[in-house]
């Protein structure tokens, strides 16, 4: 029982990181129908920024996690520059396919830039939260785990409020639902798209903080698998749908953590914990067979 509770918390922890990253994918997809493959690498950018800014913060006598503010700034700049210099010109001239290929090449570009700047060996990140484990129902849960879950949920609630209740959020929804009508009601479409990229990149920086609090290292390719799984989460929940990304992220986290703990026991050692990623992708395939648009997605018929 205590193992189960432990695994649920682990799942929620990893899941809230996935959820934040998935939100970045889904918001950009919702607004310009582009799968931003470079999004996972924004996390890597955030992690390297933390790597160098945490010591600065600590030396200045501030708490280490304050470094995330600089992380957000750097990620937002990278995200917006990628949108303005790479995606926007391609969107004007090319097709969805050219945009997708540009996204893949931006991902490779960021990874290789990081490798040439920082080398391919992982760089350690110093402690972000120095917390005591906390006892919940007789189970000892790491402080980082709880903080990660709390930040994740706080960010998700804030984002939901911003998207549904504010003028900026309304502009974003307007552009995503009908770009022509958005222009006619006075929404500055380009500015709204840039803003969406900025928000997505800021979420990636927060995800980097949460991820590095638990796995304290930065490497050039760290965004690859993390980004891929978050993308799975976004598709699982229904890409383009904000609550879908949150749900998908948490589900992927829980499945991954539970399959790591129990698959070997349940299958008599055939499926070991090393297969946990495979289990996640299997579930994606099954869900998409039953609900092609994702759990919360609506099956839209192509309009002719």
């Amino acid at each position: 029982m205590s193992l189960f509770v432990q695994q649920i918390f682990n799942g929620l922890k990893v899941g809230s990181v996935y959820a934040l990253v998935a939100l970045g994918y889904t918001m950009v997809y919702g607004i310009i129908r582009l799968i931003n493959f470079a999004h996972g690498d924004f996390i890597m950018v955030g992690a390297y920024t933390l790597c160098y800014t945490i010591p600065l913060m600590v030396n200045a006598g501030m708490p280490a996690w304050m470094a995330v503010v600089l992380g957000i700034v750097v990620c937002v700049i990278v995200g917006v520059v990628v949108e303005l210099l790479a995606y926007r010109p391609v969107r004007k001239k090319g097709t969805n396919m050219t945009a997708l290929i540009t996204a893949i090449s931006m991902s490779l570009f960021l990874q290789n830039t990081a490798q040439s700047l920082f080398g391919s060996a992982p760089k350690p990140i110093t402690t972000i939260f120095d917390l005591e484990p906390i006892n919940i129902a007789g189970v000892s849960i790491a402080g980082e785990t709880l903080v990660t879950i709390l930040i994740g949920f706080a960010v998700m609630i804030t984002l939901t409020v911003v998207v549904n209740k504010t003028k900026i959020g309304r502009s974003m929804r307007a552009v995503s639902q009908d770009r022509q009508a958005a222009i006619l009601t006075g929404v500055n479409v380009n500015r709204t798209i840039t803003l969406t990229f900025a928000i997505g990149a800021a979420l990636a920086a927060l995800a980097a903080l949460m991820y590095c609090a638990n796995y304290p290292a930065a490497s050039p390719t760290m965004g690859g698998m993390l980004g891929l799984k978050a993308f799975v989460a976004a598709v699982l929940g229904g890409i383009g749908i904000i609550p879908g990304a949150m749900l998908g992220g948490i589900l992927v986290g829980l499945v991954e953590s539970l399959s790591k703990a129990y698959s070997a026991v349940l299958t008599g050692g055939i499926i070991t914990s090393a297969f946990s990623d495979a289990v996640v992708f299997m579930i994606l395939i099954f869900v998409l067979l039953i609900r092609p648009a994702g759990i919360l997605g609506k099956n839209e018929r192509e309009k002719v």
């Binding site: 003028k167 309304r170 502009s171 929804r173 307007a174 639902q177 009908d178 022509q180 009508a181 958005a182 222009i183 006619l184 009601t185 006075g186 929404v187 500055n188 479409v189």
Partner: protein
Amino acid sequence: MLKITDLNVSYGAIHAIKDVSLEVNDGELVTLIGANGAGKTTILHAITGLLAPKSGKIEYDGHDLIKTPNHKIVSLGMAHVPEGRHIFPNMTVAENLVMGAHMRKIDKQTLKDEMEEVYEHFPRLRERTKQLAGTLSGGEQQMLAMGRAIMSDPKILLLDEPSMGLSPLLVKEILSIIKIFHEKGITILLVEQNAKMALSIADRAYVLEVGRISMSGTAKELMDDDRVKKAYLGL
């Protein structure tokens, strides 16, 4: 108020609009009629900057609309109700109306009062304020699109095929609303395939044939014109 001079629009190799000039004066209700594919919608899209013309001039209230960023045009007092309504399907009826006033700096009470006014014109919308706009019927969506446009407090309203796909009863209802808006002092440019309906309420009219203005005059003159009668009124 709105003056188009020698407008040319091309889609790739297709020369869709050829040297079109037309004018809408303050307080007028002008209609642009023509068959399907004549280019009526293209002209409206050029006016509100949804596409870039090849050449020509579009002046409105002292502004050069071709040089104005398209999202700023609504703030100049020009509202465009596009063909196919283009309401925001996953927003509620009320949110769609709020979007209509997106660019205006008004307080909550004014916004509420003006929404109330829209509901008075379209009582059916009031019953559905919390409903997602995508679930409305075609007629209700048309009303919502018009209501959203009115929320921008326009001086001129561009209406693209408001009667399309509606029952004769609803067409009548939409028609009477257009008249009410006009009487309130809003200048109107009405694009219609339903020439009979359009000419019945317009002051002046232009006939568009394959991208060119072929006839123009008062609505009365055109209604009595033999060619118009034969081609557009089915008489």
